[in-house]
Symmetry: C2
C-alpha cells in the first residue's frame, strides 16, 4: 500500500507526517521554522532538510505540502506568505522537481489542504460541497465544490478572513487578537459576575469560563458567533453552499457559537438555504494539516475548479 | 448561419430576440408579462405564446432563456422567482422539451446569462475570469470563471445583492429603493446648494444632477460607491477575480462611482489584487438580456463549474 508524505508548513513549525492512503499518520516529526533561518539561506536549509527526510522514506514517491499563503494558479510558485516571507516569489514546485526528479510534489494553500483532508479522512460521510473555516491566530477558509478544491479565478479564493465585517477585516474582529479585543471591550460593559480576570485573559481562559456557563464568556462567544454568522451569510450567497465545517485551534469554542451563528444566519437567509443548512465542527484535529497535505497527492484532488 | 432565440423573462415584460451567432439582434418582440396572467393559467399561456413564436422561426433549433431567480442545479426546474411566482417549482425544462421535442432549450439565471452575453458579444476582448454586477431595481451578480458561468455549489451562487453591507442586504442599501433612501438621508444632512428637489427625487434626477456636478448628487454617488466597493472587496477575496464589469439600468452612474469605488477597495485589498484590478462598465445595454440568453445556446457555455 502506497504511503505519502504530508508537509504542513507553518510560521513557527513545519510538520511532516508519513500518511497512509486511509489517512493514518504512521510517523511524524516537526522542524522548528526558525532553525531553518540559521546560517542565512532559508530555502537552501529547507530543501536540505527535505532531502534527509526523503532519504529516510525511499518508498514514498508523492509529497503534498500545505503553505500559509497565496500561490500562482499553476501551484508552482509561492506568492505572499506573511509568516514565511522567505518563500515569497519562490518557484518551489520547479525547484523541488529539479532537485528530486523522481518524486512528485503537490503544493497548495494550507486551508485548502485541511479542507481536502476533512473531505477524505473525516469519519463521517462528507457532502460534495462545503465551506471550511479555520479559527485560529487568523481566520482561514476553503471551499470544496463538486469534491474538488475551489481555487477561484486566479488560484487564491476563499480568503474569508479578509472579507469585510462591520467596516474591517473579519480576521481583525474574530482572529485571536480581535477576539481578545472584543472580550476586553465586552468586559468593560459587563454588569454581571464573572471569574474571568482581564489581566490573564486569553482564548483558553474564555473557553474554560464558557464551559462553566460564565455569563461574560458566553456573551463574548455570542458576539463572535454573530460576526462569523454574518460573514457566512455573504459567503453562502456567493457560493451557494449550505454545509459549513469549522476547524482550527479555536474551533474548541464551537459549542458556544453554534446556536447564535444559526440565529444570525436565519435573519438573512431564505428557506432555500436554511432548509439544508448544516454547520459542523471539523473532525480532524491537530493532524489536519499533515493529512490534508498528504491528500493533495490523490489523483482526484488535482483538478482545480 | 444558425440563429438563436434569446428570451429574457422579466417581471413586467418578456423580451424575445432572434440573435445571430455574432450577437446581432435580427428581430425582437416584447410580451407584457401581466397579459399572460389573464385567463388564469400563466404557464399555459406562456407556452402557447412560445409556440406561436417558434412557428414564426422554423429554422431556429436552439432557444436560451434567462429568468430572474434561482434554478435547480440541473437547470430544469425553476425554484424561487419573486417577480413571477407562477414559475416557482415548475419543471420548465422538461415541460418545454415535451411540448417541443425537436428544439433544444437552455434555461439560466438572468444575471448569469447577461454576463455570458457580455463575455461573447462585448466589442472588447474579455478576460477569462470576471465578476459581473447589475445595478437596477435590485442588485444582481454573476461570475465567469475559466470562461464559464460560475454557479456555485448548488447552482445559485453570486447572489451578491444579498451579501451583508453594514448590517443589511447590499440590495437594500444600493438597489433603486435603497438608493433613494440614501439620497433622502444625505439631503437632510447636506449643507451646500443643490437643485435636486426631494419631492421629485429619482435615480434619473440624481444622475442628471451629477452630470452637472451637483455637490449633493455627487455625495450620494460617493456613498453608493463606498458600499459597492466594500461588497466587491468581500466578493473578490472569496472568488479571487480582479476584473469587475458593471451593467444594468443604473450603471449609467458608472462615471460617478468608479473613483470612490477604487479608493474604497484600495483601503482593504493588497497589491496582489490591486495591481490587476480593472473595473469597467459593461458594454451591452438594453439588449444584454436577450443576447445573453441566446449565448446560452453555445456549446461551450454548457458546462457549469
Amino acid at each position: 500500500m502506497e504511503n505519502f508524505l504530508g508537509i504542513d508548513v507553518g510560521g513557527t513549525g513545519i510538520k511532516v507526517g508519513l500518511v497512509s492512503k486511509s489517512g493514518d499518520v504512521l510517523s511524524h516529526l516537526k522542524i522548528d521554522t526558525d532553525s531553518l533561518r540559521q546560517g542565512g539561506d532559508f530555502i537552501h536549509n529547507f530543501v536540505d532538510n527535505l532531502e534527509g527526510i526523503l532519504a529516510d522514506h525511499p518508498d514514498v514517491d508523492r509529497i503534498g505540502m500545505g503553505v500559509p499563503g497565496t500561490l500562482s494558479k499553476d501551484r508552482r510558485t509561492l506568492l505572499e506568505l506573511p509568516a514565511i516571507p522567505e518563500f515569497n516569489g519562490v518557484s518551489l514546485g520547479d525547484l523541488l522537481q529539479a532537485r528530486f526528479p523522481n518524486k512528485q510534489f503537490r503544493i497548495e494553500n494550507d486551508a485548502n489542504a485541511a479542507a481536502l483532508g476533512e473531505y477524505h479522512f473525516s469519519d463521517r460521510k462528507m457532502p460534495e460541497n462545503f465551506i471550511f473555516v479555520t479559527l485560529g491566530t487568523g481566520v482561514g477558509g476553503a471551499a470544496i465544490i463538486n469534491r474538488k478544491i475551489f481555487s477561484g479565478g486566479d488560484g487564491n479564493g476563499m480568503e474569508i478572513g479578509h472579507i469585510l465585517s462591520r467596516g474591517r477585516k473579519l480576521e481583525n474582529n474574530i482572529g485571536k487578537a480581535g477576539m481578545m479585543e472584543l472580550a476586553l471591550e465586552t468586559l468593560r460593559g459587563y454588569q454581571g459576575a464573572t471569574d474571568v480576570n482581564e489581566h490573564r485573559m486569553n482564548s483558553h481562559e474564555l473557553i474554560r469560563a464558557a464551559t462553566q456557563k460564565d455569563g461574560f464568556a458566553l456573551e463574548v462567544f455570542d458576539k463572535i458567533a454573530e460576526l462569523l454568522g454574518e460573514a457566512m451569510v455573504s459567503t453562502i450567497r456567493i457560493l451557494d453552499i449550505k454545509n459549513v465545517y469549522i476547524g482550527g485551534g479555536l474551533s474548541v469554542c464551537f459549542d458556544y457559537i453554534i446556536s447564535n451563528m444559526i440565529k444570525t444566519m436565519s435573519k438573512y437567509l431564505t428557506p432555500y438555504y436554511l432548509e439544508d443548512l448544516h454547520i459542523n465542527r471539523a473532525r480532524l484535529g491537530n493532524e489536519a494539516g499533515v493529512v490534508g497535505a498528504a491528500a493533495l497527492c490523490f489523483e482526484e484532488s488535482l483538478v482545480h475548479v
